[in-house]
Amino acid sequence: MLHIKCPHCGLRSQNEFAYGGDATVKRPELNKEVSDKEWDTFVYLRKSPRGKHLEFWHHISGCRQWFKVERDTVTHEIFKTLKPNEDN
């Protein structure tokens, strides 16, 4: 079970969190023309990297905040956790 540091609550066990997918994906802005390809990429295409991965987690049984986790998908090492508006 991973030990994840919520930026608001501190280190907690994984069973308090829900995984939320790739955090590098940016939703296209509202009311903007988006090509089929661009939209498809946003909705469906995700990288599955071996190694460092920036991902969203949701502290669902805690403060209910979404945040970013930089994690190694092989070793599960967590390098850092960030609030959604933080870059490092």
């Binding site: 079970m1 991973l2 949701h58 905040q65 967590i78």
Partner: protein
């Protein structure tokens, strides 16, 4: 009554307390402190089972966790448990156990014929033999394998024992209480660290219980006792025996299984049988010790062939002799220690040492005691079928290739020592890159991946002095990192005998013309020729060899077999062992009961049960409940001898005719506040939300980004910046997370706050032509007329002194209202509604009637919003705004979603107006067509229409908009039904929606 193999005045058992037990139906006795194994050996019982593949007789090989054979079926309190290691099972009064893997009994085993049908069971026998013909698999092969294989029988009864889980945090977790574990624990504890010391066995001390050493002027055993006593008194230390740390997981999470009652005739009151500890440790000290390696020779699986360390443990801990005429076969000094113990107790052993001329203090002592030692000698084969009777021995050449003249020597046991294998399972599980240590011919931990340090013989250190020194230092340094304290304890002086180097030799060659089986893996019956065959057949990777031969699999996880297997592969392949590498060690290190893994999460405890505040009333009024997510909801209220069909029909008819009331507390409710709520809802829902006035509700549909409908519900504007959203019962949690995602990540600029209020409000839906009459009487001071409270209107009212929210919304398609009060007032509200509604013939209705009402109205719900449908499919395209953007809108342009013949919800009526259509039925053009019969759609929900008094269903049908009036067939292979049907509008009742507005 005396026991033939028990000797006086030695051991740690309590001879004042006799314990009787039963094995294979026969009565025996042992003493308090015995294991089942030690008590059986004391009674001269050596045959305890049959082997896995060849059904050869099996005895005892080890004395603890390393035991590969002595696995028995245990019976206790009318319960049975498989796969119990006799070497670990402590004796208790009334214990009953039986052998496994033999039929009809252990002495005469029909499966033993496999032993003579050798050809049938070479390496990969599963793959080769049971491959073909395919039709044989179910009838012949599988039943055969099932009967022949496996170690025991699982109970199919409900397990009445209690199991618990516990979460714990500590600075240092120390796995094993041998000298290295005790020293690390002591140093760390004295330095202020929070320590957990875990010992698998009932007794602390590990090797100190059986070795002849002195630590600080005490015997090793006394030193261990004193350290443990002191640790137990310290408030920062948890000391646990009968506790196996079996798994090392991510981020220094380890799992430990504590056995609290397995050694007792009955579980103690208020105590679980076992407790699973989830331990998050800052640092882990692995002090799991080492396991003696077998030597490989002919028939080395015969009962009576035991590890020399086990023989010593039986003697020193239990006062039990594994034989009275022992032959010791060793390639190192450890065998001598066992021989010396035998001799001290009046038994004359013979030592065969593979080395030609070793010199050490232990060897000198053995010589001084007059023990018969034969150097450069090996055991070629054990003789005897159910027990060792003698051994074939021979001199071996210096290059270990040639055997001399075979001699026979009488013996009743053969104690083998092939040196020691560090127990690196936990280190390896943690991700440690283990390395091969040529000095000891074994793998030891290398670079740590997690915060883990291995000490003592688990780290390949085999002298006590070095072990204690490094372990004290480890405990000191690791604790200092955490506590920042620097309290050092002095390292005691050690007296131990110096040992000399072991011999790398481990596998005795076969003598000319002999085909003795030489076992590598005792549990899985893997012999030398199996591995050789696998290599000849082209298996190269050790992982493939493992799977092809089953070497190192199952509960044993290669504890005794791993290294010899690797050595053999490396010999045949002409590679060094590290180039072969070892297979992955997987948790659990030892078997864990399913009960311990599940813990308290059984039956009703496996998930929470949520009950509405009106639940008791439902119970009193004969509600039959149904699970709705985690909620219990009344499905129908049973009257007299009604069944589901009659009751739900009566309830639904009463709604259509008079008025009904339904508990809708379970609906998801989300309170939304902030100046930007309207803009937010406008982006979340498909329809327009910017102009919703205060005091009005609106129905909305929300999509996922891929255009699929996620949920639907109404949202009401309570005041300027305050909204109340409802979701379906099933999607409540997902919708909240979805809203939070967009507010926190995608549009953080929106000033909006969301919080779940599902449990804060109790809700009652009052539906039917007379619902307004009920409402008027509930709120006499409030104008609830069609003008005062129009369709989709909202009011706040005073329900006999209780604050209430009144929504005019309808799921049933009738004139209907929903009244919400704070949960604590839920039952009060409900009883008032029932009381006041009496004169209007009000009846409560359950989810079944609710479904009927919505289905015949053509209202879509979970069975249509099934994660595969878009708004159009559900007839909700009118709610999709063309003007504004919203979540998922762009996806609706996908070509599949705009196809001319896109699926759409329709109504389905059987032509005979009698036969109900099973949900899930396929709609097809032809009743009898070549399979697969092309599917045009499926029936999503079925009911008995109370309006028309015939069956009615909803279906999602390809090109649904052009199919009205078509005649099709509903096929249900599950129910074996073919029903001719007609496709009609999904709005079967009140298609214009006049009733809700009346």
């Amino acid at each position: 009554m005396s026991q033939d193999f028990r000797i006086d005045k030695i051991g740690l058992i309590n001879r004042d307390k006799k314990i009787s037990f039963k094995f294979n139906g026969k009565n025996y006795f042992g003493y308090e402190g015995d294991t089942l194994a030690s008590a059986l050996i004391a009674n001269g019982v050596h045959l305890v089972g049959r082997s896995f593949k060849y059904h050869r007789p099996r005895g005892f090989f080890g004395a603890g966790v390393d035991e590969p054979y002595a696995i028995v079926q245990l019976y206790k309190n009318n319960e049975t448990e498989p796969n119990v290691r006799a070497t670990e099972q402590e004796l208790f009064e009334g214990l009953e156990a039986k052998s496994v893997n033999c039929w009809p009994n252990v002495n005469f085993d029909i499966g033993a014929i496999n032993n003579f049908l050798n050809k049938f069971f070479p390496a990969g026998f599963y793959y080769k033999t049971f491959m073909w013909p395919k039709s044989f698999w179910y009838k012949v092969y599988e039943p055969f394998i099932r009967k022949a294989a496996g170690f025991g029988v699982a109970s199919i009864k409900h397990d009445k024992e209690r199991y618990e889980h516990k979460y714990e945090y500590c600075d240092l977790l120390i796995t094993g209480s041998g000298p290295s574990g005790l020293a690390s624990a002591y140093a760390a504890a004295k330095n202020g660290a929070r320590v957990i010391l875990a010992e698998d066995k009932p007794r602390f001390g590990g090797s100190l219980l059986t070795s002849e050493v002195n630590i600080g002027n005490q015997s090793g055993k006394e030193w261990a006792e004193n350290i443990v006593a002191e640790l137990k008194e310290m408030p920062n230390v948890i000391v646990k025996n009968r506790s196996q740390v079996f798994g090392y997981y991510d981020h220094n999470m380890l799992v430990m299984s504590e056995r609290l009652s397995d050694h007792l005739p009955k579980s103690k009151k208020y105590s679980p049988r076992q407790r699973l500890w989830y331990i998050r440790a800052k640092e882990v000290v692995i002090s799991s010790g080492s396991i003696e390696r077998p030597l490989v020779f002919g028939n080395n699986d015969t009962p009576g062939v035991v590890l020399s360390s086990a023989a010593k443990e039986y003697l020193k801990v239990y006062g039990v002799l594994v034989g009275r005429n022992p032959l010791i076969f060793t390639n190192n000094d450890s065998g001598y220690e066992t021989a010396i113990e035998f001799k001290k107790n009046g038994i004359w052993p013979v030592i065969l040492d593979t080395r030609s001329n070793p010199n050490s203090e232990v060897i000198d002592e053995a010589k001084r005691m007059g023990i018969n030692i034969k150097f450069s000698y090996v055991v070629v084969a054990a003789k005897g079928y159910k027990k060792v009777k003698s051994a074939e021995i021979a001199k071996i050449s210096e290059d270990k290739k040639d055997l001399g003249q075979i001699e026979n020597i009488n013996c009743d046991c053969i104690c083998v020592s092939g040196f020691w294998t560090p127990t690196i399972h936990l280190a390896s599980q943690s991700g440690n890159k283990t390395k091969f240590d040529k000095e000891i011919d074994a793998f030891v931990p290398g670079q740590s991946k997690q915060e883990e340090t291995t000490v003592g013989s688990a780290n390949g250190i085999f002298t006590l002095e070095e072990t204690l020194k490094t372990s004290f230092e480890t405990g000191q340094e690791l604790s200092k990192k955490i506590t920042k304290n620097d309290n050092k304890v002095s390292i005691p002086t050690v007296v131990e005998k110096k040992l000399t180097k072991h011999d790398k030799f481990w596998c005795v060659p076969l003598p000319e013309g002999k085909k003795y089986k030489r076992f590598l893996d005792f549990q899985n019956d893997v012999v030398v020729t199996d591995v050789e065959l696998a290599l000849r057949e082209g298996y190269r990777s050790i992982e493939h060899v493992k799977r092809y031969t089953t070497l190192g699999m199952a509960t044993d996880q290669g504890k005794t077999s791993n290294l010899n297997g690797l050595q053999l592969v490396s010999n045949v392949e002409n590679k060094v062992v590290p180039a072969v590498g070892h297979t992955t060690f997987r948790p659990p290190y030892t078997p864990v009961t399913i009960g311990a893994i599940v813990g308290r999460e059984i039956g009703k405890h496996s998930k929470p049960t949520r009950k509405s505040p009106i639940h008791l009333w439902h119970e009193k009024n004969n509600a039959v409940f149904v699970d709705a997510g985690v909620w219990l909801r009344p499905r129908y209220y049973k009257q007299r001898d009604e069944g589901l069909f009659e009751a739900s029909k009566r309830e639904a008819e009463n709604v259509r005719k008079n008025v009904g009331v339904c508990d809708v507390t379970t609906l998801g409710k989300i309170d939304i506040k902030g100046p930007d709520v309207a803009e937010f809802l406008n982006r979340v829902y498909t329809n327009a939300w910017l102009k919703l006035p205060v005091g009005k509700a609106r129905y909305g549909v929300m999509l996922r980004e891929d255009g699929i409908v996620m949920d639907d519900g109404t949202t009401t504007r309570i005041s300027e910046n305050h909204y109340h959203m409802t979701t379906t019962t099933a999607q409540a949690a997902n919708v909240l997370s979805h809203l939070e995602y967009y507010l926190q990540i995608v549009w953080p600029e929106l000033n909006v706050n969301v919080v779940s209020t599902t449990e804060q409000w109790a809700g009652a839906a009052i539906a039917g032509p007379k619902s307004r009459n009920v409402l008027q009487k509930l709120f006499p001071d409030t104008d609830v007329s069609n003008e005062g409270l129009p369709f989709m209107g909202y009011l706040e009212g005073n329900l006999f002194g209780v604050y209430a929210r009144i929504f005019r919304i309808s799921f049933s398609g009738e004139l209907a209202y929903e009244v919400n009060v704070q949960s604590d007032n839920g039952n009060f509200m409900w009883e008032k509604i029932i009381e006041i509604g009496k004169e209007f013939s009000i009846q409560p209705y359950g989810t079944e009637a609710l479904s009927t009402l919505r289905i015949e109205m053509g209202h879509v719900a979970g069975s249509e919003l099934d994660g595969r449908t878009i708004p159009y499919d559900n007839g909700l395209q009118g709610l999709v705004s063309k003007k504004k953007d919203f979540i998922g809108k762009r996806s609706l342009n996908r070509s599949a979603f705009t196809a001319e013949d896109r699926q759409k919800v329709v109504g389905v009526v059987p032509l005979d107006k009698k036969t109900s259509i099973p949900e899930g039925s396929h709609l097809v053009k032809e009743a009898k067509s070549k399979l697969p019969n092309p599917k045009l759609g499926h029936v999503s929900a079925s009911c008995w229409s109370v309006e028309y008094n015939n069956p009615f269903s909803l279906a999602i049908l390809r090109d649904g908009k052009n199919m009205i009036g078509e005649k099709l067939f509903a096929l249900s292979p599950l129910k074996n039904k073919t029903i001719p049907v007609e496709i009609v509008s999904s709005h079967y009742v009140d298609p214009k929606g006049e009733r809700v507005r009346s």
